[in-house]
Symmetry: C2
Subunit: 474 residues, 2 copies
């Protein structure tokens, strides 16, 4: 967190006004890493999987959330102190007091526990009020005066993709499966978000909706992931290592398409620099699964600091959402396809962006006795290369700027630094994970070569300026 704040990776928002928990800024270094993560996901889904991409508003009218079920079901159980007014998530409060899990418990069960265990307000010791349902969506109103309409900030991008399904069906040339990606902000008004950037009130998502035939939840090129060996936890709590091929064969993962995108996601996370040994697949228990899903699998990262972190959730949402919007809007969502008429089912692949971002940072962090550095893969690193004149005189800065301008022209993202000793500049570059640093020295002026120092090995070699761009891009 010290490096993160000091070097502009991420820091709490509105710090000058004391901050508001659940809101973070991406700084100059972090915003680049974040965008690289998004671009990796986008390139894979849009180019390789031939998905369409859309961008919809984050603010949507109330009907959308009535139909989707979020107005009724997207809630946490809450209790407030009758004396000081402090608000708590009831299950968390009870879990902290008793050490026992309250997962899946109903309102009255939580009321009983509060009474039985004599749980009081941790802040003032006052009595707690009855547990009640608290909706996690932020509400606002669109338009002025008496005609204003209730609207909510979306808690997921998915619904806004579903709304335009008829258009997307036409634009996608009426073929299934039809994959639609949306990358953007979503919002959840958490009761008391802790864990820094792991539980944000405003966060980033990359969600892909695959519209499929109800009885064809599989892909043809499953062999591309079938050999992946991974740790797996099933909904009845069994944990073991298995290949995706066997997980599907033994019907541990019941839907082949879910297994396929779990495998693809494992590949993507590894490319981001997340240690695959820290990842596992976990099936949601029946009582934990979201109201719209018939089967959900997460990929979790086991963090040294935060414990398990959900990076992606892959769900079979069946025809739940399209049917719900069809019922409320009275617009037809059925398609005619290969002689059949049906409402498509949805396999959803829902990535967080902020959580993978954090896990990339944690996974790539390295401490050595004389330095710390981030071992970011090149396609994730905030800059591809650092450009340093050895000293600030004798025409070396001018020569270094020349090379910097060359990089700009080639659109290679470079970081120019001429302040402090070369050692300090290497240390600064290591702290933001720049893969290669180029030093311009007196030899450069003679023979047009530069020193290229590798972040991970610290090895230095001489490279001709003419060959530098190619060398860096390789």
């Amino acid at each position: 967190m010290d490096i993160s704040k000091r070097r502009g990776i991420m820091y709490p928002s509105f710090e000058i006004y004391g901050g508001v928990s659940g809101f973070y800024d991406y700084g100059p270094v972090g915003s680049k890493i974040k965008r690289n993560i998004e671009q990796l996901i986008r390139n894979y889904y849009v180019i390789d999987e031939e998905c369409l991409e859309v961008e919809c508003p984050t603010l949507s009218p109330e009907e959308v959330w009535i139909a989707s079920g979020h107005l009724e079901n997207f809630t946490d159980l809450m209790t407030e102190c009758l004396k000081c007014g402090e608000a708590y998530r009831a299950d968390h409060l009870i879990e902290e007091y008793t050490g026992k899990s309250c997962e899946g418990m109903h309102m009255s069960q939580l009321d009983d526990l509060i009474e039985k265990d004599r749980i009081k307000c941790p802040k003032c010791g006052g009595d707690l009020d009855k547990v009640y349902n608290y909706n996690l969506m932020f509400q606002t109103f669109v338009g002025p005066g008496k005609g204003k309409e209730s609207a909510y900030l979306r808690p997921e991008t998915a619904q806004t993709t579903y709304l335009a399904f008829r258009r997307l069906w036409e634009i996608g040339r009426k073929k299934l499966p039809l994959g639609v990606l949306q990358i953007g902000r979503s919002f959840r008004n958490e009761i008391s978000p802790r864990q820094g950037i792991i539980r944000l009130r405003e966060f980033n998502q990359a969600e892909i909706q695959f519209f499929v035939e109800p009885d064809k939840k599989f892909v043809e090129n499953f062999d591309q992931v079938s050999n992946i060996e991974t740790r797996i936890v099933t909904k009845d709590g069994k944990e073991f290592n298995i290949s995706l091929e066997n997980a599907v064969k033994k019907r541990i993962i019941g839907i082949q398409m879910i297994a396929y995108f779990l495998g693809r996601s494992l590949q993507l996370f590894e490319r981001m620099g997340i240690d695959p040994k820290s990842l596992r697949l976990r099936q949601h228990k029946d009582e934990e699964r979201a109201f719209y899903s018939s089967d959900t699998w997460d990929i979790e990262y086991i963090s040294k600091i935060f414990g398990r972190i959900e990076l992606v959730g892959i769900s079979d949402r069946t025809d739940y959402d399209l049917k719900a919007h069809m019922d409320l809007s009275k617009r037809d969502m059925t398609v005619s396809y290969e002689g059949k008429k049906f409402i498509p089912h949805v396999i959803e692949v829902a990535y967080g962006i902020d959580r993978p971002f954090y896990c990339v940072i944690e996974s790539c962090y390295r401490e050595e006795k004389d330095r710390v550095f981030f071992k970011f893969p090149s396609e994730i690193a905030p800059y591809r290369v650092g450009i340093f004149p050895l000293v600030r005189k004798d025409n070396l800065p001018e020569k270094a700027r020349e090379i910097f301008e060359l990089m700009k022209k080639k659109r290679i993202h470079a970081f120019y630094d001429q302040t402090g000793s070369i050692g300090k500049r290497y240390a600064r570059a290591d702290e933001i994970g720049i893969p290669e640093c180029v030093t311009i020295d007196y030899e450069t002026l003679e023979d047009n070569t530069v020193t290229v120092r590798n972040r991970d090995t610290k090895k230095q070699i001489r490279v001709k300026i003419d060959e530098l761009c190619e060398f860096i891009l390789k």
Copy 2:
């Protein structure tokens, strides 16, 4: 609009629920064009101008908007019908009735005009209520229960950039000018947005804040834009053609740095495909200028449909914002720089994204007697190339898929289409502005060449498959 909806450029959001004015979806084709526009702006400012980039939340606590002045000043004057409750923007209503401009008028002046001209509710003929101030920010509350905090969706990205100025100053190594880009969503709860995507309630911005020394509002490389000849309208209504060099010399544009970024923006808009002959610079009149600005210049596009459209506003915001946040937060915003202590001034370059997007679409639209097409520049076009097998048999689709896969590997965004006649496929490609189309025919199977058809000239040439990627990228 027909092409836009049918081909997935842009369409109204929440259509199945009747829509809400001021909200639009970017469809599969539009989202690509939009992202290309953003990338052009980002590359220019982050790489060429060496700006930092940040991403901040769209939801911010009330203090931010008290300090910035938006809670008090970011308002429209409104009136409601006493009979039917319909709400109107008072100045627009009066202008429609009288044909006269109400710009800069105060509440009581508008009240007087409504009385004098006997203006009634256009909907039901009822009497209109007193004019009142209506804040254009969307309000919501963060957190639950009695401790919930008032917050607003940001009406501009700028404030969220200013909040972290102290951090950015450190991260940017305490040098001026310091440029900071932010691309993201902003929100304005317009009273009755018309004009489709020109006035959105949720919209996209790319705003750059240049923190500068109060007496150094100039750049060294002004010669890069000084020769640009452009149409200009000054705040006293004079309109003429002039070079940027002369505009600065004659002190028509008082701040050289503003002239520089006006020039750079003209260059950027031309690269996006916007016709420079439809652009002009316009200085804000004193009564129209935002409350935080001492001088503002817009670049306007003269649309055949919507009249004048503001694409970018460049303002001297002085030390207004940093000073305001310093006053309210009690955090120091002064810097020590080259022996002086001061609060930096801000030159802001504020692009809309949705409006340039629309102007690109309008500017690139071409009608010929047998076709319509969009003449998008390659770096703006949604796809670089279309890949078509001549017929759906004799191994041509397989060969075409091979070339499609080759494009994927090179990350060249390609569009595969094998439905309908070649003529129809060219027409479809033209409708979304794909610059080149590649046809795989029987000759291809013999000599590994393909036909490449140019969108603008309709000329066809044969290219070897081995040289195809390079040809397309060129």
